[in-house]
């Protein structure tokens, strides 16, 4: 009988150890986070899909312009849900010419429930905007030089514009200038959604013309070239950038 009691005792100990070996399962949350979220990026001029390399767009300042390159970072997506907000602590790089970058599927899963709205940082906050944070291209090619503050460009938007019949290049390059951050906290309107057991796709659209019109008029003839080191240009774009993104759909 004593032996049987010992056996039961040993069985109990081993069971506890087995459970310890399955730590991940033991710590699984009560509310399962099982829904995949995917973000899809599109780019428009006042609602029309962008056609690259053609001087055909008009901004508020009257510049007739083309878009040749558009590359940017977003990071720190937050799905706001009262005290249970979900923070996706990651950065994503978008290149309008690289389809692979136009979708972003965070590894983090979310739980069922209602979410108030979505926000993110356009560019990179201080925790991610450090030289050598990215060593592999294409992200590493967004390097912002150390003598100008280091880190990475938030955005490289480039093209040509017709300036009094002379075609010129313009560069809209944003970043943290000499240590002053100009990243943009973006709070998306109409981004309330309910997760109900199925994976969700958030379609985000950037209206490029919005960079140049609200609240400040951005004129390529004033800021067209060598604007990286121009504090005023960086501030203007930071203010204008709050509403360049909108949610087309969440489904």
């Amino acid at each position: 009988m004593k032996l049987v009691i010992k056996a039961v005792f040993v069985f109990f100990i081993i069971t506890v150890m087995l459970i310890a070996c399955k730590k991940e399962k033991a710590l699984a949350p009560a509310t399962p986070q099982s829904i995949h979220l995917k973000f899809v990026f599109s780019h428009t001029i006042d609602g029309a899909p962008v056609v690259l390399d053609t001087i055909k767009y008009l901004n508020k300042a009257g510049n007739l312009y083309s878009i040749i390159n558009l590359k940017y970072f977003i990071c720190n997506i937050v799905l706001h849900k009262g005290s249970d907000s979900i923070i996706i602590d990651d950065a994503h790089y978008v290149d309008i010419r690289d389809n692979a970058t136009l979708t972003y599927s965070p590894s983090q899963l979310i739980a069922n429930g209602s979410y108030d709205h979505i926000s993110f940082i356009f560019g990179s906050d201080a925790s991610k905007n450090k030289t050598n944070n990215f060593v592999n291209p294409p992200e590493s090619n967004m390097e912002w030089p150390v003598p100008m503050g280091g880190g990475y460009h938030y955005m490289q938007l480039e093209g040509k514009f017709d300036s009094a019949t002379v075609v010129k290049n313009y560069n809209v390059h944003t970043g943290a200038l000499s240590g002053i951050p100009y990243y943009i906290p973006v709070h998306l309107s109409q981004s309330t959604f309910t997760a109900n057991g199925t994976d969700l796709t958030v379609n985000l659209a950037m209206n490029i013309n919005k960079w140049f019109e609200n609240p400040n008029t951005y004129n390529f003839n004033i800021y067209g070239d060598s604007m990286m080191g121009n504090d005023t240009a960086q501030k203007v774009l930071q203010q204008n950038g709050a509403d360049v993104f909108s949610v087309s759909s969440i489904k």
């Binding site: 056996a7 081993i14 592999n136 291209p137 090619n141 060598s226 080191g229």
Partner: protein, 356 residues
């Protein structure tokens, strides 16, 4: 009863060991002595801040024996039509593996090409080869100069036969690839392995960044010009590689006579675009540009300062194209050149691992 209890303990023990077994994916690799003459893997040491993703095809891992074979082939004129020319004829180590002071290289018949022989350096991080990027791997790139009538002018069929009939090579192929049968594929793989070991990361600039060397006042001013919009060099010549490995029209001509990248993509928006060359060891690899039109760094800086030409596909990075360039004064030009010279790595051009 006692036996039953012992059996029970034994069962629990087995179950416990089985259950707590380490994840096989976390197991350390098992190193065994090699009795089958398998080649020895060669591990690339990545310098600080360099990309961690290497452009090495899965079917051509680096090995000590493969690299040794590639080195022998790189320096052997056996791959030319008249046994006078090797890869090294146009890619000399002393000149950053470029063709010293030659605008265009001369082939075995005396014919010349239309593009400058590019320097060979830090190739393991390059996603494209040739000025127009028409080859995606070194293996693919190697195919061209051997067979090209204005370069080494040897058919690959003959090249393979010559190497096969050589007294030394079959054994070296056996050591590298476990076969004495020479093929075009294995020749290109061996040369590619050798070239992937060409790594340069020990310039004065690198050591200055690591706080183990100094720069002069002029070199520091040049550094600031390079890395601000005053010189605006950094957009294309970026990262530790000093290249973005992308294609740009850098405003050389109002009417480009070499369509460059457009020859590959058939896209008119790519006319006049060429791959950004690295600036590492730039002082060793004159002349400059895809057509070697500039003999000196001074000529290059003069061009970027005041010689830019607008064309339909000129790159947006050439912000000052409408005013001819970044308009540097004489002192700034000299400072910039002095900085560029700090990117030289004498160890690279004398490293015996790359020498014949």
């Amino acid at each position: 009863m006692k036996k039953l209890v012992i059996l029970f303990f034994f069962g629990c023990g087995v179950l416990f060991l089985q259950h707590c077994k380490k994840d096989p994916s976390l197991d350390m690799p098992i190193l065994t002595s090699d009795s089958t003459n398998n080649p020895i893997p060669y591990v690339i040491t990545i310098p600080p801040g360099f990309p961690t993703v290497l452009n090495t095809p899965a079917d051509n891992p680096l090995t000590v024996e493969g690299i040794a074979l590639g080195k022998k082939l790189f320096y052997d004129p056996i791959l030319s039509g008249d046994n006078t020319m090797s890869c090294a004829s146009c890619h000399a180590q002393a000149f950053n593996f470029s063709d010293h002071n030659k605008q265009f290289s001369k082939g075995i018949t005396g014919a010349i090409g239309t593009r400058n022989a590019p320097a060979l350096i830090n190739l393991i991080w390059e996603p494209y080869f040739f000025w127009d990027g028409r080859a995606a791997t070194i293996e693919e790139q190697v195919l061209s100069p051997v067979a090209n009538p204005i370069e080494m002018h040897l058919s690959w069929t003959t090249a393979v036969a010559k190497v096969q009939s050589n007294a030394e090579y079959p054994d070296l192929f056996n050591k590298a690839f476990q076969t004495t049968t020479v093929t075009q594929d294995l020749i290109t793989k061996a040369i590619a392995q050798f070239e992937r070991t060409f790594i340069s990361a020990n310039s004065r600039f690198d050591r200055w960044v690591l706080n183990i060397d100094t720069l002069s006042a002029s070199e520091k001013r040049g550094y600031d010009i390079f890395y601000t919009e005053k010189g605006d060099c950094f957009h294309c010549h970026t990262t530790k590689l000093f290249t973005d490995n992308l294609f740009h029209n850098n405003a050389l001509d109002a009417f480009p006579n070499d369509s460059g990248r457009a020859k590959v993509t058939r896209n008119s928006n790519d006319v006049g675009k060429f791959k950004t060359p690295t600036l590492r060891n730039i002082a060793y690899s004159a002349p400059y540009m895809h057509d070697g039109r500039f003999a000196t760094l001074e000529e290059v800086i003069d061009f970027y300062s005041s010689g830019l030409q607008f064309s339909a596909t000129v790159d947006p990075f050439m912000k000052k194209v409408n005013s001819g360039g970044v308009q540097l004064d004489a002192q700034s030009k000299q400072d910039l050149i002095n900085f560029l010279k700090t990117l030289g790595d004498p160890e690279y051009i004398s490293n015996t691992a790359y020498s014949p």
